[in-house]
């Protein structure tokens, strides 16, 4: 069997490990336009923060490809897939034949049209190692940084570079930060905390146009800056898949086997959309755990095994300057909240199931809540009042606890 994987991050690694758990022999080829062995993409902010380095941010050991019998084609772009001939065409003209194909093409920064953007000399996006390297080279202790986008990428970037620059201002059209993972109470709390580290927020506003070294805002305000970081959002890389007729929405549509709408063609990770069990809708869930698990699922099925991943939910563990935040699921339903000066907790239930939660400050044992969502555990089968106070296995029946703690777990 000839397997070809376009992309070389978590979904690709999951696929390789999935294939090899079933098929130790088939040929596996990985194609990526990045010239690097697999590294942890989400660690680029930690790299600038000084919490990791290029050696430690390797996602797998140096002998990973060799040990798994994987041929790598790095620094070369896959430009087209010829479905009839079953081959991938590369930017250098080479053709790579496949019998099973995985799209693990990830996503790219979305940069909205902004007047005068072309006149901004030092502008960066923040997704890949090369982005981090380029940004790092442009920063000085005197840099005034403007970040457009108060989402996960923009704020992790802000944290990463805070001690390297003179000032950071963050502009976002939304009237609160991290709206994709927090509710209003949580947004306010985290914003205040981040502000205490000298980061300034300008919310409910946007850049109308750029003059050299100056962003003029819709509200009439002005922000002088030396370095611009664009972190408005990302878009799944669906083009190659769409061109050969894979069904796509916002992302490449996959089922619980990570199969696309075309035979022998699979997709995994940030380029995809899949069913979110908390909303029962097809969504792009661009997070590393889902990328790995979808990739692994794809790999096993590509190699003729049987694997279904049907527990995808949005979930995030993120921290800023030592403040930890863990969130999961969706927040439509009956909410129960608890707030102290330094912590916030929100649990959301609907139809007798836990659908989502937000934990700020105290995140201990959060996975017990996540598991209730993923396993769709009926809340009337546990002591919900007890587990609201803190995540604990005591809230389960003695019998269920015996299953969880008394035997080998899959």
């Amino acid at each position: 069997m000839k397997y070809v994987i376009i992309g070389n991050s978590a979904a690709a690694v999951g696929c390789i490990e999935g294939i090899r758990s079933v098929d130790p022999e088939g040929s596996v080829t990985v194609i990526s336009d990045e010239p690097y062995a697999v590294y942890s993409r989400p660690l680029i902010s930690y790299l600038l923060y000084g919490k990791t380095d290029l050696e430690r941010m390797k996602y797998r050991p140096d002998d990973f490809y060799e040990k798994n019998g994987v041929k790598t084609i790095l620094g070369v772009r896959a430009v087209k897939v010829n479905r009839a001939a079953k081959e991938v065409i590369l930017s250098d003209g080479r053709r790579v034949p496949f019998e099973r194909l995985l799209f693990a093409t990830g996503s790219r920064p979305f940069v909205p049209p902004m007047d005068g953007l072309d006149r901004v000399e030092k502008k960066f996006t923040f997704m890949k190692l090369d982005d981090a390297k380029a940004l790092e080279a442009a920063l000085t202790k005197e840099s005034r940084v403007l970040i457009v986008g108060a989402g996960l990428i923009g704020l992790k970037c802000a944290e990463g570079i805070r001690n390297r620059v003179r000032s950071i201002a963050v502009v976002d059209l939304a009237n609160r930060i991290l709206p994709s993972i927090l509710d209003e109470t949580g947004s306010v709390m985290v914003q205040k905390y981040i502000e205490s580290f000298g980061i300034r927020f300008i919310l409910g506003d946007s850049v109308e146009h750029f003059d050299p070294g100056l962003a003029r805002l819709k509200s009439g305000g002005e922000v002088p800056f030396d370095v611009l970081i664009l972190a408005v959002g990302v878009r799944p890389n669906t083009q190659l898949a769409a061109e050969i007729g894979c069904k796509t929405g916002r992302g490449i549509v996959i089922d619980s086997h990570s199969a696309t709408s075309l035979p022998d063609v699979y997709a995994a990770g940030d380029c995809c959309e899949c069913r979110d069990i908390t909303t029962n809708s097809s969504r792009v869930l661009a997070i590393l755990p889902n990328a790995y698990l979808q990739g692994e699922t794809a790999g096993i099925n590509m190699a003729g095994g049987e694997k279904s991943f049907d527990k995808a939910i949005p979930m995030n563990a993120i921290g800023f300057f030592g403040l930890h935040i863990i969130t999961a699921g969706s927040y439509d339903g009956e909410a129960w909240t608890e707030q102290t000066e330094k912590t916030y907790k929100k649990l959301v239930s609907k139809d007798g199931l836990l659908k989502g939660y937000i934990l700020i400050g105290d995140v201990a044992r959060a996975g017990i809540y996540t598991s209730l969502i993923r396993e769709q555990t009926p809340l009337d089968s546990i002591d919900y009042e007890l587990i609201k106070k803190k995540p604990q296995l005591m809230a389960f029946t003695a019998e269920r606890r015996r299953e969880m703690l008394g035997g080998v777990q899959s």
Partner: protein, 146 residues
């Protein structure tokens, strides 16, 4: 593979396992030095009330969601034991987000995580919680099929 199991019928809720765990992982050879006036951060945690108590530590799952979710590639399986390379860990807590047992805990400094590695990562070599359990409620044994 041998794993740690607790029999909640025999657990007294005395928390000694937590102290033995903290000592075993402290790197100290003197228990007083390791534990006196120290807030412990054990990798095994006792839960319960006056009637029922039990200790929870890593299950060393066969299909570990923490390892597959780790954004840094810091968690791996070594001979069945789920191991954390604290040098690679950046303390994002994604493993805490996904562990259904609540068995992954922050290290004392909060910058990385720590978890039970069955004392394979310290000089004890075999689980100190098991050895020190006064009522034989925690055992280290083979169960079920792998």
């Amino acid at each position: 593979m041998k794993r740690v199991y607790v029999n909640e019928k025999w657990c007294l809720g005395c928390h000694l396992c937590e102290y033995n765990c903290a000592f075993a992982n402290s790197g100290e050879t003197d228990m007083v030095k390791a534990l006196k006036d120290v807030t412990i951060h054990p990798r095994i945690q006792v839960e319960g009330d006056n009637q029922v108590s039990f200790a929870v530590s890593c299950r060393h799952c066969k299909d570990p969601v923490c390892v597959k979710s780790c954004i840094a590639g810091a968690l791996s399986v070594r001979d069945g034991v789920i191991h954390c390379d604290q040098d690679k860990c950046v303390g994002c807590y994604t493993c805490i987000l996904v562990c259904p047992y609540g068995a992954v805990v922050p290290a004392p400094d909060g910058y990385v995580i720590q978890k039970c590695e069955l004392c394979t990562n310290n000089r004890f070599g075999e689980p100190a919680c098991v050895k020190g359990c006064p009522n034989g409620a925690i055992v280290f044994e083979e169960r079920g099929t792998e």
